[in-house]
Symmetry: C2
Subunit: 337 residues, 2 copies
């Protein structure tokens, strides 16, 4: 065993992580349809990630060489492997210092809700079965996302929080060692994590959401920025289906957790909105997202929430967001200066 040497070798990532990206479940799956991936959104997100990673000096080759050399289900064709092409490359030409975390969308939720995994209690045979079923579903999605990234030439490696030994205590993270994530980044890989069923020290088990994982990783890795890709343009002051909904383009968070909406200028007492008011969308997932985003912003890390498969998402992934220009649609959450 060389545990000591290993720990010494990797106290932290050598370069700061550039970006942690959340691929929201609503963005990459068809939410109303059991275990259905939104292939076009996923493909776009992966292609935009590649563009964002491409070195500005133009060393990234234009031809994308895929790293998924496995059969596609139902496709009898042999996978395409350009081994000679890879062997002739001096390097990938990618700044791959990114971490990807994804939600579950139409994967996992069905299995978890049928069994009540989030409430715990593994003495119940139903909960135990649901734990197994939920993990099968979310790891299936993880596998597909790793493959979609690899097809874009991104050196992605799947890492399940449960397998990494992450566990909770009354749903708060209790143990979440990131050393393997850091080692993978060192080695030039892009770790791909996901919301997962995990063991809980009080409840036996529960669901650990992708948003909680993102906040924890932001604390540990202090990325330059964090991007949430979702299915709406950002955070609104009311459900985005409401025709009067206003997109909140810039939110400042102070040290006490208070909020102010910097843009747009809202009238009177709407300037300081309660999270519970702002944090509402029809998917029901925005509230946690905003709470986690605010916690990240308080670390001094800018958070961009924007819609997948748009010019806005590409700019967010590149970290190239200018809130004074009117042509960017999205929400920036940052610490008050």
């Amino acid at each position: 065993m060389a545990e000591a040497a290993r720990k010494q070798r990797s106290p932290a990532a050598p370069r700061p992580v550039r970006c942690i990206v959340k691929l929201g479940g609503a963005a990459i799956t068809n939410k109303g349809k059991l275990e259905s991936i939104d292939e076009e959104s996923l493909r776009s997100a992966c292609a935009q990630l590649r563009q964002a990673m491409s070195e500005s000096d133009g060393t990234a080759p234009e031809k994308v060489r895929g790293m998924d050399w496995s059969r596609r289900p139902g496709d009898p064709a042999d996978p395409v492997v350009d081994a000679e092409g890879f062997a002739g490359m001096a390097g990938l030409g990618l700044d791959s210092n990114f971490v990807v975390v994804h939600g579950a969308g139409s994967f996992g939720h069905f299995q978890a809700s049928r069994s009540g995994v989030h409430k715990g209690g593994l003495h119940s045979t139903l909960v135990k079965a649901g734990f197994v079923a939920t993990r099968i579903s979310v790891t299936s999605l993880n596998q597909e996302i790793v493959r979609a990234l690899a097809r874009e030439g991104i050196p992605s490696v799947g890492m399940s929080p449960f397998a990494c030994g992450w566990s909770t205590q009354r749903r708060d993270l209790a143990s979440a060692n990131a050393s393997q994530i850091i080692e993978s980044l060192h080695a030039g890989f892009v770790p791909v994590l996901h919301g997962d069923a995990v063991l809980d020290e009080s409840l036996d088990c529960t669901i650990l959401s992708g948003d909680v994982i993102i906040r924890h990783l932001a604390q540990l890795l202090t990325p330059k920025y964090v991007v949430f890709l979702t299915d709406v343009h950002g955070v609104y002051d009311r459900p985005p289906t409401d025709p009067n909904a206003v997109l909140l383009k810039e939110i400042e968070v102070d040290d006490n957790g208070g909020w102010s909406i910097v843009k747009p200028a809202l009238q009177g007492n709407r300037k300081e909105v309660e999270i519970s008011v702002a944090a509402h969308d029809t998917t029901g997932g925005m509230e946690t997202k905003i709470l986690e985003a605010a916690a990240i912003a308080r670390l001094g890390v800018d958070v961009y929430i924007t819609k997948v498969d748009t010019e806005h998402s590409l700019r967010a992934l590149k970290g190239d967001v200018n809130t004074s220009s009117d042509d960017w649609l999205g929400t920036v959450i940052r610490a008050a200066k």
Copy 2:
């Protein structure tokens, strides 16, 4: 963080692990065909595992309730979920204190050999791509094996050695923390590990074989017995395709690593065979298997090597092997008394 409490709570598994099972790549995949599972062998292995786990007091329900509640690729049917059935069960009625490790067979080898992942050198773009491609392939197989076990009502959880943070130093295990495996066993789950591409402290990366994983886990968990399921009846004195090949039914290993063949009685100088002689089969995988099996036997743990999908494999999985009877086909490797 409750790391300290967590470590204190789980210094070892509460009950000794009953069995570590290796599902050999040759046993559960069609070796000549890229990424092709031998569905019948896999189904049989999972069904026999369930039989072996069934409590002898007859509390295991006859009706198998599956824990794979996900869609099958290409099958539009909704998955069958018997939530009410599970909710009405007092318990699974299974002694699930087993660990499953599987090989790669026709998964992973193609990707690894095209890129030379086992030789290391992540500065090479080809090796980096091959690392990603190999992991995609072997984790696809892991997912299918977890699902096959879950369909037999076995509470299986996939755990990738790479994601668990396992790494090597010149191909020997350097870091292989099993605490999450032990936690999973505590919680009543069956961990399912696999041969994987991992980081190597000297070579950057390499391939960690399922057989090396088995030996390490046997050392840590001291199971009652270890079973290797393969595609031949056991270890022969020459390639099993040779019509004169003799099945070695019982091998004793002494403290110095010396061997003797106890059964059958061989003539003259064939009684003490070199590993390199005995350790040969057409798949090329038997040599490592025997070296690892011998190392396990020296711990005092009986090792059974036998053919998948036979009455012999069921008896091995139950730990019910009697080498004095003539109707068991397989190889027992044990420590000399």
